[in-house]
């Protein structure tokens, strides 16, 4: 009798604990906001506002334990990295912050959180719950990187072989004698490329590296903000911000319409030693050609040397791709698997033509290569089409991250909103 009672009690306890375990694990509480956080999404998707940080939220990472680390362009209350924790309903609250430096890059890999200022890369050891152990004592991995007044951010990503890739943007528009100047020619043999205008490779675990320790992995890239490692074919992909000012520097060659459309914002699949050709060329997505830059003798038609790398995909001009993420999650429908999401921050150098961007694009991929036309995935960050056209968007998408459940997270560096997109169709 006693033994039977014990059995019942044990069984009941087991059932209760299993049930509560599932209750914790399931997404019972997770639901989209009634207005999908103001976003326009494909059918079957929903969105919620995870948090309003009120900070310049650039790139972010989300841990399987529901912690979110957000890199800020400018520290807020002395914190350059915000830490938030999610409730079961998907809403998150601020739980801490650390790192007194502004920047853009942040990445989670092999028990470390990597983050960059505009000149250095740090890493923070994580415990087995992916919580930063010593927020005030990061290891300095890279130091002394060039930083200009433009393209100063250092986006980063890691491969699976212990290497770190850092963008060092060119502190110039087109390497002119007089930057962005009226009819100012290009500097022969653009000296900027020695220490910027490319992607540098460093060791992920070696302290205090600088130019002498790193490798210029790829050059001729004006500025990259969005980049990601493609796990399918083990390759680095980057989104370049194309050059500006074709009309204001070269009004005799380019009218305002041409200057608004050209050049393309390009996705490049990189291999070690590649040269994408900045500042000597730009990619014309209408002619589908690499065209010699006007600063280097171009006339809008003359084709550049074929030795330079072709883009994998060319997108309309000036839309400012700030986030790139290969989707490997299980939540979204099959077509999204291994494809790329691209956050287009939105243009300015299209004026007086209407501005473009302020949305997140989906680029289909097959076997590690772009395959098929891109489409706008998440739109209306701007609030209204008029605000987008005027360049006065309410929110500007910047960083992308994938949650453990396959949700897509998006930062906004204008108002600091963190969005989460989920697939809701059963």
């Amino acid at each position: 009798m006693n033994r039977n009672l014990l059995k019942y009690v044990l069984a009941a306890t087991l059932i209760t604990s299993v049930a509560s375990f599932y209750a914790l694990k399931s997404d019972k509480g997770l639901k989209a906001d009634p207005d999908n956080a103001g976003l326009k999404l494909p059918e079957g998707f929903g969105a919620l506002k995870v948090a309003e940080t009120g900070a310049k939220a650039r790139h972010l990472v989300v841990t399987p334990q529901g912690d979110i680390y957000v890199k800020l362009a400018k520290p807020k209350d002395g914190k350059g990295i915000l830490q938030l924790h999610e409730n079961s309903d998907g809403k998150a609250q601020l739980t801490g912050g650390f790192g007194n430096y502004g920047g853009t890059g942040i990445y989670l890999k092999d028990g470390y959180l990597y983050a960059s200022s505009n000149q250095e890369v740090f890493r923070y050891k994580l415990n087995d719950q992916n919580v930063v152990l010593n927020p005030d004592q990061p290891e300095k991995i890279v130091t002394g990187l060039k930083m200009g007044r433009q393209h100063e951010t250092k986006s980063l990503v890691l491969d699976n072989d212990g290497n770190l890739y850092v963008n060092i943007g060119a502190y110039s528009n087109s390497c002119q004698v007089q930057d962005r100047g009226y009819q100012s020619p290009g500097i022969p043999g653009c000296p900027i490329l020695d220490s910027a205008g490319g992607i540098w490779q460093f060791k992920a675990n070696k302290l205090s590296q600088s130019y002498g320790d790193g490798i210029r992995y790829a050059t001729g890239l004006r500025n990259v903000v969005g980049l990601d490692w493609n796990q399918q074919n083990n390759q680095l992909f980057v989104m370049q911000h194309g050059r500006d000012n074709l009309n204001s520097s070269w009004p005799a060659l380019y009218d305002v319409k041409e200057s608004a459309e050209l050049p393309a914002e390009c996705l490049y699949a990189l291999k070690k030693g590649d040269n994408a050709g900045w500042p000597y060329l730009y990619y014309d997505q209408i002619q589908h050609k690499k065209i010699v830059a006007p600063e280097y003798g171009g006339d809008k038609k003359k084709e550049a040397d074929a030795k330079y790398l072709d883009p994998a995909v060319a997108y309309p001009g000036h839309m400012a791709p700030n986030g790139l993420l290969f989707y490997t999650g299980k939540m979204f429908p099959e077509k999204y698997k291994n494809g790329a999401f691209i956050a287009f921050h939105g243009s300015w150098n299209r004026a007086p033509e209407p501005q473009k961007g302020y949305f997140v694009v989906f680029q289909p991929f097959k076997d590690g290569k772009p395959s098929g036309d891109w489409e706008i995935f998440a739109d209306h960050f701007s609030g209204t089409p008029e605000k987008a056209a005027a360049g006065r968007a309410d929110h500007r998408p910047c960083g992308l991250a994938q949650g453990a459940d396959g949700s897509l997270y998006i930062t906004d560096d204008s108002k600091g909103t963190i969005y989460r997109i989920i697939y809701t169709k059963k």
Partner: protein, 148 residues
């Protein structure tokens, strides 16, 4: 956040009003005379050609990149400093109303004295701005000293 922004805006406006008041007290002679329509029209034309692509049609600039032209001391304040921005360009690390702007402005010294005068008069009296016009003579004087 919205509340903080509102407070900030109110504070900034208050600050501007205060500084405007102290300025007008300090210099009662500098009364704002209306800029002629022809100057405004020519200024608008030059603005569209050389300034709009960065500072935008509404003069509001671009977040983090190109500073706004409305309500800033750079535009409404010292004329010499403003003329020098056009002649020499601008690439200093300065905060304007607490925000920093990283884009480089190239020198626009290829513009004629009259063109600079007209576009600056236009900017100082557009986008909600109200300040005295700038004459070609003033531009000429600054340009002469600027050469050294």
């Amino acid at each position: 956040m919205k509340r903080i922004l509102t407070i900030l805006v109110l504070l900034t406006m208050g600050g501007l009003q205060l500084s405007a008041q102290t300025k007008s007290k300090a210099k009662p002679a500098a009364k704002v005379t209306k800029v002629p329509a022809a100057v405004m029209a020519n200024g608008n034309k030059i603005y569209g050609q050389y300034c709009l692509s960065c500072h935008m049609a509404d003069g509001g600039g671009v977040q983090n990149m190109n500073p706004p032209l409305n309500g800033t001391s750079y535009v409404l304040g010292d004329k010499t400093r403003l003329i020098k921005v056009i002649l020499n360009g601008f690439s200093q690390n300065v905060d304007i109303d607490g925000e920093s702007y990283t884009n480089v402005m190239a020198p626009h010294n290829f513009l004629k004295d009259q063109e600079i005068a007209d576009v600056l008069s236009y900017i100082r009296n557009s986008f909600g701005n109200k300040a005295s016009g700038i004459s070609a003579t003033e531009v000429k004087a600054v340009r002469a000293k600027n050469k050294k």
